[in-house]
């Protein structure tokens, strides 16, 4: 059974089915969308159970000829990295669908169809093992997101939607040129033309070319992550998008950037990684601190969460470029954590926005009295976002900092300030929104979380504690894939011509470090 193809294209079938339903029958449309998103999530759970935990290499692999003339194939496969991101995607899409019942009243049919189509694009990006196929999903995914922001968004939705599209596309077209360059390089060196990732992993690329290719790939991914200073599209897109759009954007779309680094940029261009690590890490640390500082002064809750994303994604990048097993594990775990916590935070903002039609912190206060369940959920999610021990955020951030420390203690020192700042902006925001007296009479009669809303938050809360207390099942599943990534980077640094003294010494020192085992 081609389970990955089924997984990728079932939502697209769902999108078509929903698109063909009668426009006026809202409950039917919702039920159909929920059914497809739910079945999709169950299907991905089956992947979790069928996944062989300790096995290296690709699982559930599928390969069909697609463009034989160009050496592009329909090649899907999964390892621990993509497994976790796929689960995150299917879970949050289902959550988004259920959370949109009340928020989306008009043009609901198109909305749910696009949400499902978007899921196909995201899943395809995570399981494609052919560079051309990956690029097709990566670009095609823009279209549904563009519509979700542009049609169902806030007042400046058109500006935000077009900005989102143009920024992402500007990065990815240069990546396309780099892909073509890589493709012809492979043909000239290895004698056959292919876009297949496994073959390209084995290609030795001259150092100078690697730098250019890394820059082109890195720019596309850095815009998507987004890393400072390419983050300016993110606050606009987040603030204007409908709640579910923000959730998907934060939880999954940003991960496509970090996934791109992990899957493509690092293993394909190991020499260039050595050259650019100080730059990437520097930008990541700037992003951590800058994002946190800007979040601190936001009067709009959604914008605050958006800037906190910039800060959190800085941690992900830092852990990744520490390039040791702790850093990488922390990085991947932090991708999941950010998806869960920030996704939940956007949902929480959406809940009170639906009731009050405002997101300004100043318009709230004293919600603890009127909405106790909401306030407790908010508390847990907020603490997990800060990284309190016992919640998922702690495990991820701790591993990232540990990994960063092993590579360079100063990185960890600087990044740790971000942890402190995150506590500051989150706690302060929580205090102003939830504690204190009810300052606005409109907030008196606010309805607490409904059954449907509790249902939406339940799986996220479960994951917060599961990942916080017992992350081992997740770490076990990602370990072989991460080991392989480290190997691909480390082993292939010696293959090509040396790029300079700095690169050589770094490799040597890291080797000694790994051998020493702190």
């Amino acid at each position: 059974l081609p389970i990955l193809s089924l997984l990728v294209f079932l939502p697209l079938v769902g999108a078509v089915v929903v698109g063909l339903l009668p426009r006026d029958n809202h409950s039917l449309i919702r039920r159909a969308a929920t059914l497809f998103a739910g079945v999709e999530f169950l299907l991905s759970l089956k992947l979790w159970t069928d996944f062989v935990t300790r096995a290296p290499g690709w699982q559930f692999e599928e390969r069909l000829e697609w463009l034989p003339r160009w050496g592009a194939s329909y090649h899907l496969g999964m390892d621990g990295i993509s497994l976790l991101l796929v689960l995150l995607t299917t879970l949050l899409t289902a959550v988004s669908v259920v959370s949109s019942y009340r928020a989306i009243e008009h043009k609901a049919k198109e909305y749910y169809a696009l949400l499902l189509a978007l899921e196909t694009g995201m899943l395809g990006t995570f399981v494609a093992l052919d560079l051309l196929l990956f690029y097709v999903f990566w670009e095609a995914m823009l279209v549904p997101m563009y519509f979700l922001i542009g049609v169902w968004g806030g007042p400046r939705r058109i500006y935000a939607a077009v900005k989102f599209f143009l920024f992402t596309m500007a990065g990815s077209v240069l990546m396309l040129v780099a892909i073509l360059w890589l493709y012809f390089l492979h043909r000239d060196v290895m004698g056959f033309a292919t876009f297949d990732l496994e073959s390209l992993y084995r290609l030795a690329i001259p150092g100078g070319v690697q730098n250019w290719l890394f820059l082109a790939f890195g720019l596309a991914f850095a815009i998507k992550v987004p890393m400072f200073p390419f983050h300016t599209w993110l606050p606009d897109a987040h603030v204007e998008a409908p709640t579910a759009g923000s959730v998907i954007l934060a939880a999954v779309l940003l991960k496509m950037g970090t996934y791109g680094f992990l899957r493509f940029a690092l293993p394909l261009f190991p020499e260039a990684v050595t050259v650019f690590t100080p730059w990437v890490v520097g930008l990541a640390i700037v992003g951590i601190i800058y994002g946190a500082l800007v979040a601190l002064v936001q009067p709009d809750m959604k914008k605050l969460v958006a800037y906190s994303s910039v800060s959190h994604l800085g941690f992900v990048m830092l852990g990744m470029f520490a390039l040791n097993s702790q850093g990488l594990a922390g990085s991947l775990l932090q991708m999941l954590n950010h998806g869960i916590s920030t996704g939940a935070l956007f949902l929480l903002v959406g809940v009170i926005y639906e009731r009050r039609h405002t997101r300004m912190i100043a318009d709230f206060g004293g919600l603890w009295k009127t909405m106790p369940v909401y306030a407790s959920v908010f508390l847990v999610i907020m603490l997990s976002s800060i990284g309190l021990p016992g919640t998922n955020g702690f495990v991820g951030e701790f591993l990232v900092l540990l990994g960063a420390y092993r590579s360079n203690p100063w990185w960890a020192v600087l990044a740790a300030t971000g942890v402190i700042l995150s506590a500051l902006y989150m706690l302060w925001m929580y205090q102003r929104v939830v504690f204190g007296p009810v300052t606005h009479p409109e907030n008196e009669g606010l309805r607490d979380l409904t059954f449907r809303e509790r249902l939406v938050f339940a799986p996220l809360l479960l994951l917060v504690f599961w990942l916080g207390v017992y992350p081992q099942p997740f770490l076990d599943r990602m370990a072989p894939a991460l080991e392989r990534t480290v190997q691909l980077v480390e082993a292939r640094r010696g293959i090509t011509a040396p790029v300079g003294q700095a690169g050589q010494t770094r490799v040597a020192s890291r080797g000694a470090e790994a051998g020493g085992g702190r």
């Binding site: 463009l67 058109i158 143009l166 500007a170 077209v173 240069l174």
Partner: protein
Amino acid sequence: LTPETLWGQALWSLMPLLVLSAGAMLLLLVELLPATAGSDRSPALALLLLLLAGAATWFARDLRYRAFSGMFLQDGFTVFFTLLFVAIALAAVLLSWDYAKRTRTNHGEFYALLLFATAGMIVMAASADLITVFLGLELMSLALYVLVGFRRGRLESNEAALKYFLLGAFASGFFLYGIALLYGATGTTNLNQMGAFLADTPQLGNPMLLVGALLLLVGFAFKIAAVPFHMWTPDAYEGAPTTVTAFMSAGAKAAGFAALLRVLLRAFPELHVDWAPLLTVVAVLSMTVGNVTALLQNNVKRMLAYSSIAHAGYLLVAVVAGGREAAAASLFYLAVYSIMNLGAFGVLSLLGKGREERTLVADLAGAGFRSPLLGLAMTAFMLSLGGIPPTAGFVAKLYVFSVAVEAGHVPLVIVAVLNSVVAIFYYLRVVVALYMNEPQGEPVAISWAAPAAVGIIAMVALLLVWGVLPSPLLEQARRSVLGLL
């Protein structure tokens, strides 16, 4: 008279042209018989003739023949373009069916001219001699001049026709002068002989040859609307009846490129070092000027006119790369480009009722939700023009860029991809209007008609199918250029 016999070979290689030109004259004769204003007689007859011409081409697709002492060539390249031109004309007839009635231009002459222009395009693609290229060019252009001005009552239409005619006449002059100089330098107008002569006798410093080739290129640049010879394009595209714009933006450009490819690859491969840098500059200018100017347009027809200038630039990227694979990429691109441009202008031709012409971006406001089919189709055409997967426009761009990267023109490709980012901005403006804006005042009427709907649905389907599974068209394009070099 099967294609195996001597006579049969000549007959079948010319059959599409015979059908089209005899059919066009028949249309003119039939027009003498009385008919009501809403008669389907002419478009139906034109449709039938085009189907016959297409069937004849398909029947003799494997035939290889040199007619008229080698001036007219029946090869894979000719077959590919004949089928393409017939398909373009077919789409134009379907789109015009109701549009012509609505705008009171439903005369037999309209369809007769359409067929004549198609015949001219086929001659251009099939010619192996500069004289035949010129004959085809004139046949196509003269028919198009009249078609552009076919809405006699509209001032814009008259202006467009006059402008197109005057500048086109200049271009023909350049072209003819170029032929004369080339004849002087090489002693022949036959492309093969010219190529052979240049290969045997180095002529690198001969100014007569270089000026002749340059003038020829100027003539081509006019026809394919490349900067700096693009000035007529926005006015002609905007003023012409919308379905004529659809037809000429696809057909005339494809015909121009077909002839250009034959001339450059057959007669001037030796001069590649001379024309490649020149065309690089023209490509960069066309893409950049076309896209940047398109950003400022409020009329979708004008916007697409500038976009077609930019697309000429993308195509020139492939031409600059040179070689067989690049020619195949151009063929693929032209086929896809024709579909998406016909489709986009076709959708525009549905807007407005009666004789009104509503082609501003603002006129599209909210149309996507009022007419889901129109919205989906226009979105597909725009995304394809912008090169977003999974549409055929993406594959076409990928193919063109990949041959250029292969030939080592990475900086040129970087300019091209950055241009496509600029371009997506104005293509998205159309989508924004369709789905994200509310109409100001009375929403614009949408005049759906069955023939146009069939045409548009078919074109959307082709774009999506070739976007996901482009292999059949890809192989066809590769096979068609085998005889070219």
